[in-house]
Amino acid sequence: MSDLMVRGGRVVDASGERVADVRVRDGIVVEVGENLEGGDSPELDASGCVVAPGLVDLHVHLREPGDEEAETIDTGARAAALGGFTAVVAMPNTQPPLDDAAVVAAVLARGATTTCDVVSSGCITKGRDGRELAPMGEMHALGVRIFTDDGNCVGDAGVMRRALEYARSLPGAVVAQHAEDPGLARGGHMHEGAWSSRLGIPGRPAAAEDVVVARDVELAGLTGARVHFLHVSSARAVELVRDAKARGLPVSAEAAPHHFTLTDAACSTFDPVFKVHPPLRTDHDVEAIKAGLADGTIDAIATDHAPHTPEAKERPFEEAPPGMLGLETALALALTELVEPGLLTLADALAALSWRPAQIAGIADRHGGPVAPGRPANLCVIDPAVTWEVDAGRLASRARNTPFAGRKLTGRVRHTLLRGEPVVVDGEARR
């Protein structure tokens, strides 16, 4: 019935790449091939563009419920669609937190009508306070697969062990750790090192991350449960994950764009737009994150999109909340900083942005491709050559806290299709 043709692009997915048109009908890809016959159906021009499975972000803060001044599920989903994402995993540090099936159900209901699939995570512990297990089974029954106390680390090894053991009874469940030892990171606001000492800002040492990664690798071995490391940022943590994978342990990892593009030197302006947990680290760490992405040690690029109101960031560095926007710049940063210099192929970058995170999130049946007949038409069309400058004032997010304002980037999303609906056309959100 309602046909739509994506015309003239280069299709890139896990199965390879080819020049092809893509015909979509009723939200499903029905035909992929060269010079498909047109007709009356509307067409989206993809000439010179890459047609890829929609991107999947394992790590976004949509702030609803509780902080709708910073972001809502609706505005966050619009930002996601503009960034090429067709699915995002909503983190549970809302007010109230996603530690209860009723709150999860409410988030899923709000997300169902937006311009991006909203996948809910669930807390590991009640109130994210690291003590008692949240009702993981009840949330799993609603489709939750990623369990995390993100923003907080599960600091108690015994609690983490029990969560991992329990998760083994929940098919597809992944326990995702914000790896920063609370004792070592306490009171810190930026990476601990030469810059923090120079600026007089209390630091969070890389060792805070490393000790938790090392510990949880061992707990993955002890329990056999799947562990995912959120926003890996230190060189040593990358090595630890690499070693764990070599041992055959069920671990995965993500890295955020700011951790492969920015360093702690950015904090010398004292502008809290550069404050994030885990913090921006050194050149050495940035290089290690890139190497980890290049060799597949780090499975996914995830934004850790963390909107904050201008008022919240108009506080002194040590008083401002951590976090930065990511959804509308992630793809372009990956293309500009990883693909253009030749560290990753375009297909590798898309793997880290789409099909590998789709696998981790347990949504590979509908996201992450391949672009093939019978698959849901969750697609993004990327113009890989266009250059643009990040303008914080023009972001679709309700918030403005991007650390990339003024940065010139290469590559941008042209169209995004969610279940066949063109939610972004020629770089403009349609609703």
Binding site: L199, I201, E311
Partner: protein
């Protein structure tokens, strides 16, 4: 110079110019009527987010001796507790019309942020662990009055909680800029986590460096550091790092004892040493007013005659 946020804003030449200017204000403060009309019509605001009676009084005294009008905004009597952002506060005050904001804040870099939001000149009166440039200036002025303008060959020991000390941070830069050798003395838990780029040596044994020091600069120890497991007890700290009477006897004959105050008598310094002949702690306070007059005049003065 529009703002004074860090000792780095001055550099060696700037420090020396400011000290020369401060020396003329020392002369003013000794007059029967220690007041000049240099900043008449200017308004200086103290924006203090942290308790500090002496620094605030010192700045306000300096402003009044220059005939500026002064206003005070302290956190207890403000709308900050209602959640107003720093930027909103600054812009509200700016709308009333001020020429300089003297900012004290518990968070590093707060004065830098204030400077980005206001047309007024901003003076850092202490920000978190970061810097306290006017304290460094008054320390330099005090040392200069005893040892002359060149610090080459002088050995300055800064003893105690360097990690949490904005004074130490500014003093290291300032003393080193004028040619002194600086040694930081204290347990590793009270040293900065990284000293990369700091022009200093570090000693963990006070007794070893003590006889070589020309200046012993004692930082105040804050009692709550003990509960943060940074040292085992005040008794142990005092035994290892305090300037006791017996240690004072081993100092060079002409060594000077300095402290940023307030001091804990009997903790980092013995009472008889604080009041003894080597101590210049009271001079430091006097010089603080002259230095702050020099800073305010440099930032706000029209360049006309001082007196």
């Amino acid at each position: 110079m529009k703002h004074l946020l860090s000792v780095d804003d001055l550099g060696r030449d700037g420090l020396e110019e400011m000290l020369a200017l401060a020396e003329t204000f020392v002369e003013v403060t000794r007059r029967d009527i220690p007041k000049v009309p240099a900043l008449r019509g200017k308004t200086v605001l103290s924006l203090f987010y942290e308790d500090s009676t002496r620094t605030r009084l010192s700045f306000e005294t300096a402003a009044k001796r220059l005939s500026a009008d002064t206003m005070t905004f302290t956190v207890g009597s403000s709308s900050v507790k209602k959640g107003e952002s720093l930027r909103d506060t600054v812009q509200t005050i700016e709308a009333m019309g001020v020429d300089a904001m003297v900012v004290r804040h518990s968070s590093a870099g707060a004065p830098h942020r204030v400077a980005s939001w206001t047309e007024a000149s901003v003076v850092n009166a202490g920000d978190g662990r970061h810097e306290h440039p006017t304290q460094a200036l008054l320390d330099l002025l005090t040392l200069r009055s005893h040892r002359g303008p060149s610090f080459g060959g002088l050995h300055v020991g800064i003893i105690g909680d360097v990690r949490h000390s904005r004074v130490a941070h500014s003093d290291v830069k300032a003393f080193a800029a004028l040619g002194a050798d600086v040694t930081l003395v204290g347990p590793p838990t009270l040293m900065p986590e990284s000293l990369e780029g700091w022009p200093v040596r570090v000693a963990y044994d006070f007794d070893e460096v003590l006889p070589d020091l020309d200046v012993v600069y004692l930082l105040r120890i804050q009692f709550e550091r003990q509960s943060e497991a940074l040292f085992p007890s005040l008794r142990e700290y005092t035994a290892r790092y305090a300037l006791t009477a017996s240690r004072a006897k081993r100092l060079k004959a002409d060594a000077l004892v300095m402290a940023p105050g307030p001091i804990n008598r009997g903790v980092e310094i013995a009472a008889e040493v604080a009041d003894g002949p080597a101590s210049v702690i009271t001079e430091q306070v006097t010089n603080g007013v002259a230095v702050r007059m020099a800073v305010l005049w440099s930032l706000l003065g029209s360049g006309g005659s001082l007196v």
